[in-house]
Amino acid sequence: MTEPTKATQTEVGHEAGGHANFPPFDSSTFPSQLLWLAITFGALYYVMAKIALPKVGAVIENRKARIAKDLNDAAAMQQQADAAAAAHEKTLADARAKALGVAQEARDKLAAESDLKRKALEDELAAKMVVAEGQIAATRAQAMSNVESIATEAAGAIFERILGRPADSHAIAAAVASVKPT
């Protein structure tokens, strides 16, 4: 059919001849195929074994190591984040407790202050009350002494009117004092 086919055929005619029509069994091509297989396969083996495969293996190993490292880093970061979150929670709780304390303190202080003020006020009021009561008592005592003199005078006047003579003022006063309610 083509030129190369004819070439092969004529060559086969020279040499083995037996399987002239079947190229895979054409032994005249064997030396060439063997040589070139040895050359190409040898080159392939050399490049793969000495250069390519160790490097590819290293690339894969590196990636695996890197992924493992990244995962470890991620786990460490996760732990850090957890720790930070816990610290944050703690700070928050502390702050809340502190705020509560401050509020309580302020409330206590205010209560104490207002207690103090109220007490001062009550004392002042009590003092004023005492003064007022003293005044009332003094006024009453005065009033009572006034009543005595009025009663003595009235009794003297009544005595004089009835008996027609001036009364003994001492006796009148003694008599008034004797009926005076204590």
């Binding site: 079947f22 190229p23 054409d26 030396p31 195929q33 190409t40 396969f41 080159a43 590819v56 990636r63």
Partner: protein
């Protein structure tokens, strides 16, 4: 060569044609289309894996991911079949797997040559594995390597028979190892060529048969998908068997 007519010649695709004449010591070592496709396959594997080797930035691109997938696939295969000690053979198994895989896949491109459809290639690779197993087995285990042929727990009176069977099965390994790949690729490509040829013949024959040409065309599409699977599967099987044979070299005690 022209026995089956000009329209379909499913054997023609396997013919080796010279590109550069090389004769050394009376032998024909010419650079042929087969050599060219071997070189192409090797170049593809090298480029792919060098990209994989250089992508050290951490985030893999597509080719990088492909190279690493190939690496991890084969290393997983070697580790599971031959154990951690078997990893010394990892480059060999990797080269065999990738070389066969890329040769098979490139061979599926129309008009491309399929390197693995020649028995001399598959036999060479199978013998490479065979002799690696024997040499490494004897170097590592000494005479204990021959325990491989003497399974433990077999009654003494049938032991000779079992040993004979074990030896025959061991010796026939390179044959089955190589013929499996060779025959699969050969048969697959012949089938593809035949159905593709039907298509061309029916299209050229007349108006009515043109419509019928759809059938072999659909078949060709289906076969192409199948051959893609076979291309991968045969590379995998070859590499997997290599791992198991190498495991024998390392741990001959069954």
């Amino acid at each position: 060569m022209a026995t089956s007519g000009p329209a379909i010649n499913p054997i023609e695709q396997f013919s080796v044609s010279k590109l550069v004449d090389v004769h050394i010591a009376g032998h024909d070592f010419s650079f042929t289309n087969s050599s060219l496709y071997m070189a192409i396959a090797v170049a593809i594997v090298c480029i792919l894996m060098m990209i994989g080797a250089n992508g050290g930035t951490g985030i893999p691109g597509r080719l990088q991911a492909l190279a690493e997938m190939a690496y991890e696939f084969v290393s997983g295969m070697v580790r599971s079949a031959a154990g951690e000690h078997g990893m010394v053979f990892f480059p060999l198994v990797f080269c065999l797997f990738m070389f066969i895989l890329i040769c098979n896949l490139v061979g599926l491109i129309p008009h491309a040559f399929t390197v693995t459809s020649h028995i001399i290639i598959t036999v060479s690779m199978a013998l490479l594995v065979f002799f690696t197993v024997i040499i490494v087995g004897i170097a590592k285990n000494g005479l204990h390597f021959f325990k491989l042929f003497v399974p433990s727990g077999v009654p003494i009176y049938i032991l000779p028979l079992v040993v004979a069977i074990e030896i025959i099965s061991f010796l026939s390994r390179p044959l089955s190892h190589s013929v499996r790949l060779f025959a699969n690729m050969l048969a697959g490509h012949i089938t593809l060529n035949v159905f593709g040829g039907f298509c061309v013949m029916l299209l050229g024959a007349g108006a009515v048969t043109k419509a019928v040409a759809v059938l072999p065309f659909a078949m060709t599409i289906g076969l192409d998908a199948l051959e893609l699977l076979v291309a991968f599967l045969q590379a995998y099987v070859f590499a997997m068997l290599t791992c198991m044979y190498l495991n024998d070299a390392l741990h001959p005690g069954h």
